[in-house]
């Protein structure tokens, strides 16, 4: 018999507690007589009696849990393994048996109803409409910068994701990241499109008063590039050749800045001593490159591709080539606002996660590009944006490349992202020297748990873990030892 993946929640088809893909299999293998499913629960039970685990307790659990227990050698073994012999005394509890039984039966009933009513979408819709009543606020203002990274936040409006969650969203176009930064500190708007390091920097009080800003979910991964003016094409082969360049970056607390610094350092160039980094609004980078005011830019899309198509520059490195799967932009809101609008925050976050998942599907990429390219959003050529979204592009050096995840969308905020970012903050002196708790900072800013639950509700399969090895171009980041990673970097490169 198939074991249901217990980590799952809410079958996308029917809303019951299991994976969508397991749905058909479960249905095929379950007893054809529904009475068999509930027959076990008809005898009265007394759960969690001290010192004597009743065999009936396992019968009162949902079938998937029963299977788990059986696979693990029975209930007694499980309890012993978990609590040790007699160790369960403190944690055992007596409760009204009827209540537990009732809940368990409800669970079984939900499974029955769910599988029986598979495909009825009205149930989900009804559930959604009932949720709307709890919204503290339905008209929201969300700040965004007109770049491809903001696609999920922008696209959610024309494609109706906000509406689906009972929200009316006014998208407020910002000129540059400093404007977003100031708006977030002032609390002007409800929620913000931010660069991943920004909530960390704001919460840590770097460059300004500490303002607790939470990172709700990641927007895009990858999706930027180092573009170099075409005049340097002949003498530019590797990172070391960037020495002395004046390079445009969108914001100090941007992945662009951190990745450029990483890249420059890997070529032995100290970013502050051997090159000049210049903060420019993304929309002005291309004209600066064209005018020769900068030699290179680390720009969000589609400005890199536009530089290629306008014959201004060529793509030196995709940021994906420096750190495959690196986070770029994020959806953020202030802690105070979340505290006042818990339900609205969950709704808008879920809408954006939903939208992000939609954008992550390669078959939806063209639709996403069309939704955001128009004049009232990004106001960029659709062709360049499609090249970025499909990953089929010219690099400006005459090569046709196909990199489907040149930009990708994944809402899950890995905490290893945060650890890496804060190590780099330390590395480049953004954080004053000291004993910084990377884990505590990440726990404080990254709302990984909520993003996971919202994804589960959407029928996604978010990771159970919060940390992973991050494989960058020159080294591997081990999130269990961030300080050690930082030390290795400094030891190797002397900075």
């Amino acid at each position: 018999m198939t074991t249901l993946s217990p980590a799952a929640q809410f079958c996308r088809e029917c809303g019951a507690t299991h994976f969508t893909r397991d749905h058909a299999q479960l249905w095929a293998e379950l007893s054809p007589r529904p009475a068999d499913w509930v027959a076990h629960h008809l005898s009265p039970i007394s759960p969690f009696t001290k010192g004597q685990p009743s065999p009936e307790i396992s019968l009162s659990l949902p079938p998937d849990l029963q299977n788990l227990i059986q696979q693990m050698g029975g209930l007694e073994a499980v309890l012993t393994a978990t609590f040790g012999t007699g160790g369960g005394g403190d944690s055992t509890r007596r409760d009204r048996p009827n209540r537990r039984k009732f809940l368990q039966r409800m669970l079984v009933g939900a499974l029955l109803m769910g599988t029986a009513n598979c495909g009825r979408r009205e149930d989900a819709e009804l559930e959604t409409s009932a949720k709307f009543e709890h919204l503290e606020k339905t008209h929201l203002k969300i700040a965004y910068l007109p770049i491809a990274c903001a696609t999920p936040i922008i696209m959610a409006e024309p494609l109706g994701f906000y509406q689906k969650y009972g929200l009316t969203v006014e998208l407020v176009k910002m000129k540059g990241w400093p404007q977003v930064w100031d708006a977030a500190i002032a609390g002007e708007l409800d929620a913000y499109h931010m660069l991943c390091p920004m909530p960390l920097a704001l919460s840590l009080g770097l460059q300004s008063t500490a303002t607790p800003i939470k990172l709700a979910s990641i927007e895009n991964i990858n999706g930027s590039a180092i573009t170099i003016a075409l005049r340097h094409r002949d003498r530019l082969q590797q990172a070391a050749d960037l020495r002395g360049f004046r390079i445009g970056i969108p914001h100090p607390y941007s992945m662009h800045n951190l990745l450029l610094r990483y890249h420059l350092a890997s070529g032995g160039i100290h970013p502050d001593r051997d090159a000049e980094l210049m903060v420019l609004p993304p929309s002005e980078m291309l004209s600066n490159l064209q005018a020769g005011k900068i030699d290179a830019m680390v720009a969000p899309e589609p400005f890199n591709q536009m530089a290629v198509e306008q014959g201004v520059g060529f793509i030196h490195r995709l940021t994906r080539q420096i750190w495959p799967g690196h986070p770029c932009c994020a959806f953020a809101a202030s802690q105070a606002w979340i505290h006042e609008h818990p339900n609205t925050f969950r709704a808008v976050n879920q809408a954006i996660i939903d939208s992000t998942n939609y954008a992550s599907q390669s078959r939806n990429r063209r639709a996403a590009a069309q939704a955001v390219a128009s004049a009232n959003y990004l106001n960029v050529p659709l062709g360049a944006l499609e090249s970025v979204f499909t990953g089929e592009f010219d690099d400006g050096l005459g090569h046709r490349q196909t990199i489907p995840d040149r930009i990708d969308f994944d809402p899950y905020p890995w905490k290893s992202f945060s650890y890496w970012i804060t190590t780099q903050f330390q590395r480049w002196g953004f954080l004053p020297p000291g004993n910084w708790q990377h884990e505590a900072i990440a726990d404080d800013v990254f709302m990984t748990g909520l993003a996971r639950q919202l994804s589960k509700e959407l029928g996604q399969n978010p990771p159970s873990l919060i940390l992973r090895y991050e494989d960058l171009a020159d080294d591997r980041f081990d999130p269990s030892e961030p300080e050690q990673y930082l030390q290795t970097q400094i030891d190797r490169l002397k900075f």
């Binding site: 217990p6 978990t82 159970s464 873990l465």
Partner: protein, 490 residues
């Protein structure tokens, strides 16, 4: 005005009994309403509140249980490193999330919310920490995980969880106790209400019943008395009526005889009236003939008047002609005088003429004599005309007298004609009256016949009336017996 007895008197017996029941029914309805709204509803509301508080306590216990279960699963994984434990962990994490979302919507009390948020926060922190430890294990850094575990970071997070749950529960329990006290009070009030209203209703029923019973019996006694009195009066009256009936029969017989006599007398009068009418008709005819004769006289008188008028006008013409003749005669007389003078003159001339005038003198003398004779004739004519004029004057006088006489005759005749007209009208009236008299007499005779028949009927009715009165007396005696029985009952 609305004294119960007065009201009862105005109502039918059936209605007054119904009214008595109706008051009771209204009181029952009122009781039910009061018990429902003041008692049952309140108790219901309070038990709902108690249920809600119990739900809160259970939900928070479940929340804490989910955290504990998460911990157990995580510990199980960290020790045994089985993927199944991780799956169980995910289930309990999801359970915890859903429970926390549900209960967040349930709790409104700010203090309880704060406690709840702390509990949820403990869960979130435990979750993050365990996931980190699990991640370390999966990244082959189990040593780091064990190190953190030994540092007691987890324990420090969960240390006050049970305290938080206890705080939450204690607060809810306090509210629960209060609700229960209020519920008990409400139940006591309900009991009091039920018994109080039952006693009150019984008292009302007793009072209403006795008032109605008293009213009905009083009313019945009065009515019985009235009936007895009436029956006595009926007895007296019927006896008197019996006597009267006998007298009436005798009187009717006498009247019948008188009527017969009257009938005969009427027939006689009828015959006389018919005769009188016939005589009057004859008188009418005679008077009509008289009137015709007078009319004829009148016609002749008119003729006579016309003739006399004609005579008058002719004599007038005669008189005017005679005046003309008198004037002509005067002219003739004057001519004769002139002629006489002329003849004298001619004779004087003839003397003058001597012989030759002798023939003329003769002629002149002849002419003088003729003139003298003409004068004498004229004088005679004058005398004659004078006589004629006297005669004409006499005729005119006579005709004037005649006219007057005729006028008088006409007037008299007209008066006579009028008199005859009056006689005819009078006679006509007499005839009409006589005819009416005769008709009346005939009708009276018919009426009299009907009267006699009626009298006979009356006579028969009077006799049967006497029999009826005897029956009434028997009935009244039975009524008296029934009344005696009724009085005994009341």
């Amino acid at each position: 005005m609305y004294h119960p007895e007065a009201l009862l008197k105005r109502l039918k017996l059936r209605n007054s009994i119904l009214l008595g029941y109706f008051i009771l029914i209204i009181f029952s309805g009122l009781t039910a309403c009061i018990v429902y709204f003041q008692g049952v509803r309140q108790v219901e509301r309070q038990s709902q509140q108690v249920d809600l508080l119990n739900t809160h306590i259970n939900e928070v216990k479940n929340l804490a249980f989910s955290i504990a279960a998460m911990e157990k699963a995580a510990r199980g994984y960290l020790i045994g490193q089985k993927m199944d434990e991780l799956a169980t962990y995910e289930i309990w994490d999801s359970q915890f999330y859903q429970q926390s979302e549900t209960i967040r919507a349930l709790i409104e009390d700010p203090q309880q919310r704060a406690t709840l948020n702390e509990i949820i926060d403990v869960g979130d922190r435990v979750n993050e920490l365990y996931r980190r430890l699990i991640s370390y294990v999966q990244l082959d850094r189990a040593g780091k995980s064990a190190m953190i575990w030994q540092e007691g970071e987890v324990q420090s997070i969960t240390d006050n969880l049970s305290d938080l749950v206890a705080t939450f529960e204690a607060y809810e329990q306090a509210q629960l106790e209060q609700e229960k006290t209020e519920q008990a009070a409400a139940l006591q009030l309900l009991t009091l209400l039920v018994f109080g209203i039952a006693i009150f209703s019984g008292a009302i029923a007793l009072i209403t019943g006795s008032v109605i019973a008293h009213g009905i019996s009083h009313h019945l006694t009065q009515e019985t008395r009235a009936i007895a009195q009436s029956s006595a009066e009926i007895t007296t009256t019927s006896e008197a009526q019996e006597r009267n009936s006998t007298q009436q029969a005798a009187a009717v017989s006498e009247a019948t005889i008188t009527l017969d006599e009257l009938n005969a007398s009427f027939r006689h009068a009828e015959a006389q009236a018919a005769h009188s009418a016939k005589d009057a008709s004859q008188a009418l005819e005679l008077s009509q003939q008289g009137a015709a004769a007078v009319q004829r006289t009148l016609d002749r008188m008119a003729l006579l008047q016309a003739t006399v008028t004609a005579i008058q006008s002719q004599s007038e013409r005669l008189r005017s002609k005679s005046v003309e003749i008198a004037s002509i005669t005067q002219v003739v007389g004057e001519l004769a005088a002139q002629t006489n003078l002329l003849a004298l003159n001619a004779a004087v001339e003839a003397v003058h003429a001597g012989e030759q005038g002798k023939g003329f003198a003769i002629v002149a003398r002849e002419i003088r004599r003729l003139a003298d004779q003409s004068q004498a004739s004229a004088l005679q004519i004058n005398q004659l005309i004078g006589e004629i004029r006297q005669a004409i004057a006499a005729t005119a006088q006579a005709s004037t007298v005649g006219t007057e006489t005729v006028n008088e005759g006409v007037a008299i005749s007209q008066e006579m004609a009028q008199a005859f007209g009056g006689v005819a009208t009078a006679v006509q009236n007499v005839v009409t009256n006589n005819q009416q008299l005769s008709l009346n007499a005939k009708q009276q005779v018919t009426a009299m016949g009907q009267m006699v028949t009626a009298m006979n009927d009356i006579n028969q009715a009077a006799q049967s009336n006497a029999a009826g009165v005897s029956q009434v007396r028997g009935g009244v005696e039975q009524l008296n017996t029934a009344l005696e029985n009724l009085t005994a009952l009341v």
